[in-house]
Amino acid sequence: MPSFSRIVLGLFCLLVAILLLAPTLVVIPMSFNGNKSLAFPPVGFSWQWYANFFSSPDWTTSFSNSLIVALIVAVVATVIGTLAAFGVSRAAARTGGLLRALLITPMVVPGVVLAIGIYAVYLDTHLVGTVTGFVLAHTMLAIPFVLIAVQASLEVFDRRLETAASSLGAGRLTVFRTVTLPLILPGVLSGALFAFITSFDEIIVALFITSPYLKTLPVQIYSSITRDADPTVAAVGTLLFLATSLIIIAGLLLGMRRERT
């Protein structure tokens, strides 16, 4: 029996859902705009902004830069973050809590404050506009996400399995490789995905440590937005949105299959 208050609640939630989805709903049609303008609704239909993304060196190089940096960050941050997650979850409760709070700090430090600090250090050490510089900064920003994801897996992991394996004669590395890692793999993989996205989408620090020779995709998007009304940004946004959706849906389907078998 849908009472009056239920109907009001339903309508309200519809409005909130529209608010949440509004940017996505606007960007996708804008990417097919026939004119070089960001006025809504778009006029006509064309693929020219997608063509522009794939043919303009500005866009393709910044895209490959971001891809390279994010892939390295995903590997490095996942290894370092997973190790840290083990350290945290196996420490005494007090030490573990303190360590965790420390390792999560990058999430709450205001982006600009961090960015000027890193910029100052990089100016002195000639790391501005280098892949190493980007990887270092993004790894630091990604560690908390890996830590949280892996720790969640470790919390439900039954440590008696490790005891059992080593009492049967397995060495510590063998135990990790054949027992622990396979069981916490979903957490490690989602940590890697988070690390990749954190780096790929990072803009504030990137704006400071970028150089004309090394621009990442968010920097290119930002400068395009501030320069002129170019629907190429909408095309890039739509492509990234599609890619992310596919990866996440594939991950969910894989997870479901794992559960069934």
């Binding site: 949440l20 606007v26 350290g87 270092l136 080593s166 946004g237």
Partner: protein, 300 residues
């Protein structure tokens, strides 16, 4: 937490067994040092840079607190600092108003509807952050979606882009998931039979909701509000692109001092003020959150 209450006892027994001297010989030790590489990265690209910012704020151009005196004496700076807090408060309030009923709806609908509602919360994350801000430019601009809709129903257009309300709307959309998810995760654990129980004892439905349900959901509200408020304080991209000269927030002022005026001392002092405000808030709020959390668990 996936552990159910009834498996607590056997688990405890097993832990006792695992801690026996015989078995502990086989158990891989708990090495805290595994966190060393992560701590090293944090030291290198977090602690050291922040230390430099702090040092320069007290030493550039001369040793002393000149930069802080300058910051707090300038009326413009004080206005920006105040505005940054006011915007954070508005965003937190707007998020709370949107998130509370939404999260509540998530707990009472069927499985498929709940999946759809969760999807609406997660889909915004799939759109790149900078692109999302561009979308808000498209929505809020004078020839934008909101103004064409207003014109469609015969209302006069409103100026939204480069105004404070525009910034608040954009930030609210970006931060809304950070409010919905903590509230939902607490509401999920509230025993729904409490409401019919209160009503059967004679309470009005609204009174039962306000006196029983709302207090139990407060830990989620606190957690969400603190996350949203703190993230708002440090927001940079959204205010920079949606705001105008009269809606500058502290982050933009820091960037301007360092990149345009090359004044590291003053920029650093502003940054330190922002940093200290953030951590003070965290320090005040964290214990509050934890206490309320355990209290509500005990009551349920």
């Amino acid at each position: 937490m996936t552990a159910t209450p009834d498996d607590g006892a056997p688990n405890a027994a097993a832990t006792d067994l695992a801690q026996s001297p015989f078995l502990s010989r086989f158990r891989p030790r708990g090495p805290v040092w595994l966190a060393t590489p992560a701590l090293f990265v944090l030291l290198l690209v977090l602690a050291y840079p922040l230390g430099i910012v702090l040092w320069r704020s007290f030493s550039d151009p001369a040793i002393g607190i000149d930069n802080y005196v300058w910051f707090f004496q300038s009326a413009v700076n004080r206005a920006v600092l105040q505005r940054t807090f006011v915007v954070a408060a508005w965003v937190t309030l707007a998020c709370l108003i949107c998130a509370y009923p939404y999260a509540y709806a998530m707990t009472i609908v069927g499985r498929n509807m709940r999946l759809a509602l969760i999807l609406c919360v997660l889909v915004p994350f799939w759109l790149s952050g900078v692109v999302r801000t561009l979308a808000w430019v498209i929505l809020l601009q004078d020839s934008g979606v909101i103004n064409s809709m207003l014109r469609g129903i015969g209302l006069p257009p409103v100026k939204l882009i480069r105004t404070l309300p525009g910034v608040v709307i954009g930030m609210t959309q970006v931060l809304l998931p950070f409010m919905i998810l903590p509230i939902y995760s607490v509401m999920k654990g509230i025993d729904t039979r409490l409401l019919p129980a209160a009503r059967s004892l004679g309470a009005q439905p609204w009174k039962a909701f306000l006196q029983i349900y709302v207090p139990l959901s407060l830990p989620g509200v606190y957690a969400g509000a603190i996350i949203v408020f703190i993230l708002s304080l440090g927001f940079y991209i959204t205010p920079a692109l949606l705001g105008g000269p009269r809606s500058i927030l502290l982050s933009s002022l820091v960037q301007n001092q360092v990149l345009s005026l090359l004044n590291w001392g003053r920029g650093g002092a502003m940054g330190v003020v922002l940093l200290v405000a953030t951590f003070l808030l965290l320090a005040i709020a964290a214990p509050l959150m934890r206490q309320k959390h355990t209290a509500s668990r005990r009551e349920v």
